[in-house]
């Protein structure tokens, strides 16, 4: 079992009011599984991801990662967010090298590992460019290389493709799918896009609006390898979509009414 969430509660205090972000959440994520979190904004799905990364800690309950309780920054995960977090003053190569550098890997080894990863995302020719010289999709691929370079067993992704245009998004989904199938890493993927969730994930987890609770879990049994460009037109995809939408829609309107 990769991640075990047991009765987790998280509260925030904001503007003199207490907000219950997550209420008694239980969840188990298997090794090598691809799980997607969907839910209305403010439902605590990103909060839970931040707790997996060790940036936040629960008010009560426990989270185990590979059998160990998460305390402080969890260095065994790779974390990718929607924000463009490449350091603009470092070249592509030195950005990919950064996590290795921070972990004290020698410069030589760091460089050759970073180069290998750039090869994998088809950006070997751009090693000495600065991020500003790259397109949005290329920057995303550098970010993927950066998370993969230190070979974490688990990847946490918080709407990583949210800022991309529709076409590029599908291309990057295909890339992600390929990497996941090649490496067999555990992936926890937060998104607000149901199509994206069903296309990629083995299990889609629907969160309720505030306070965040797990409302519904759907296993997506569309056979693999899936073609991300076409899978959405299959009849079974439509069924999953309708069933999940029926769970999700009332949560979204609930949030809007407040």
């Amino acid at each position: 079992m990769s991640i075990v969430v047991d009765q987790v509660v998280k509260r925030f205090v904001s503007r003199g009011r207490e907000v219950l972000a997550l209420e008694n959440v239980d969840l188990e994520i298997e090794d090598g599984e691809f799980v997607a979190f969907v839910g209305p904004s403010g439902c605590g799905k990103s909060t839970l991801l931040n707790m997996f990364a060790g940036i936040l800690s629960p008010n009560s309950g426990t989270i185990l990662h590979d059998g160990r309780t998460i305390e402080g920054i969890n260095r065994r995960v790779g974390y990718m967010t929607q924000a463009d977090s490449l350091l603009p003053w470092r070249t592509v190569l030195r950005n990919v090298q950064l996590p290795l550098e921070l972990q004290g890997v020698g410069r030589r080894e760091a460089q050759s590992r970073a180069r290998a990863l750039l090869e994998k995302v088809d950006l070997a020719g751009f090693a000495d460019h600065f991020p500003i010289e790259l397109s949005g999709g290329m920057r995303k691929r550098v970010a993927i290389a950066q998370v993969l370079v230190y070979d974490p067993g688990t990847l946490l992704m918080d709407e990583p493709l949210g800022a991309l245009d529709a076409q590029l998004k599908v291309i990057m989904q295909a890339e992600l799918m390929r990497i996941w199938e090649e490496t067999g890493k555990t992936v926890v993927f937060v998104t607000h896009d149901l199509v994206e969730a069903i296309t990629l994930a083995q299990r889609v987890i629907v969160f309720s609006g505030r306070p965040g609770r797990i409302k519904h879990i759907a296993r997506i049994d569309i056979p693999r390898p899936r073609d991300v460009f076409k899978v959405r037109f299959q009849p079974e995809f439509q069924q999953y979509y309708e069933a999940l939408w029926a769970e999700l829609a009332p949560e979204i309107s609930k949030g809007e009414a407040v």
Partner: protein
């Protein structure tokens, strides 16, 4: 099906594109633009000098404005006699020390203040109060403390530079995007690594601006000190010449100061261009 999955990236994205004809033409036009500007700059310079030369003795009494030729002669004599270097070396020495000390202290404190909200909040009213004192007014105090030698000039210059670099570094450190800090922390950066890989490079633009602005001010500090009490330095030369009503020498001193300031600024601009090349 698998075709679409393995070759989603077209060829050509694997490496930078070659320089096309349009690129070459564009670059040539940029070069032309630069040349035209250089020529115009020279024309303006010559026009100003020419007007000064003609006005001198006709529109305005030569006693007040001397003339470019007289100033040039004076400068030439200074160089030949070694006067220039004797005075310039001491001014430069004081300026470089003042600049270095002031910016090092300003940079360090700016960093600490930028990283600690408590420190910044506690010291803020005092820093503001000190900042509001016209630094020139401190000159008599520094002469009392450090004597009439070079130390008081260095102190004067360093004080002025300190505030400029301090305030810029402080703003620069506060300005670092939390996205970068967060991302680097998650990758496992320690506080020191965070400083080195994120905060320092991010604040560099602000710090460099502070340094650039400081160059003329470091000169002001030294020259004011030299005006008040000294027997060497460009400031001393100017003060002495004005006492003797030698306008050509006064202007010569000013020209030297202008050249020193411009030279330092150009050097810093080079450094800035290299350090901030990632901005494209």
């Amino acid at each position: 099906m698998s075709d679409a999955r393995t070759s989603v990236f077209e060829a050509g994205e694997g490496g930078p594109v070659e320089r096309s004809q349009a690129v070459v033409a564009y670059e040539a036009s940029e070069v032309r633009k630069r040349r035209v500007r250089l020529v115009l700059q020279l024309v303006v310079g010559i026009a100003i000098l020419g007007f000064w030369q003609i006005a001198s003795g006709t529109l305005v009494d030569r006693f007040f404005i001397s003339s470019p030729i007289a100033v040039g002669q004076e400068l030439f004599d200074w160089v030949v006699e070694g006067t220039l270097w004797r005075h310039l070396s001491i001014t430069l020495y004081a300026m470089i020390w003042g600049f270095t000390l002031g910016s090092l202290i300003g940079f360090t404190l700016g960093f600490i203040f930028g990283r600690s909200e408590t420190v910044a909040a506690v010291f803020d009213p005092y820093i503001t109060a000190l900042y509001c004192i016209p630094k020139i007014a401190l000159a008599p105090l520094f002469i009392m403390w450090f004597g009439i030698g070079i130390e008081s000039k260095i102190a004067m210059s360093a004080t002025i530079v300190f505030f400029l670099v301090f305030l810029n570094t402080y703003s620069g450190v506060r300005d670092v995007s939390p996205i970068y800090i967060h991302a680097t922390r998650i990758m496992g950066a320690s506080q020191w690594q965070l400083l080195r890989t994120v905060i320092a490079p991010s604040a560099a633009a602000w710090v460099l601006t502070g340094l650039k602005v400081s160059v003329p001010y470091s000169l002001i500090g030294v020259v004011v000190g030299e005006f008040m009490s000294s027997n060497r330095g460009i400031g001393f030369l100017i003060a002495q010449a004005s006492g003797l009503f030698d306008t050509a020498a006064v202007f010569s001193g000013l020209v030297v100061l202008a050249l020193v300031g411009a030279g330092m600024n150009a050097a810093l601009k080079r450094i800035e261009k290299y350090l901030l090349r990632w901005r494209g």
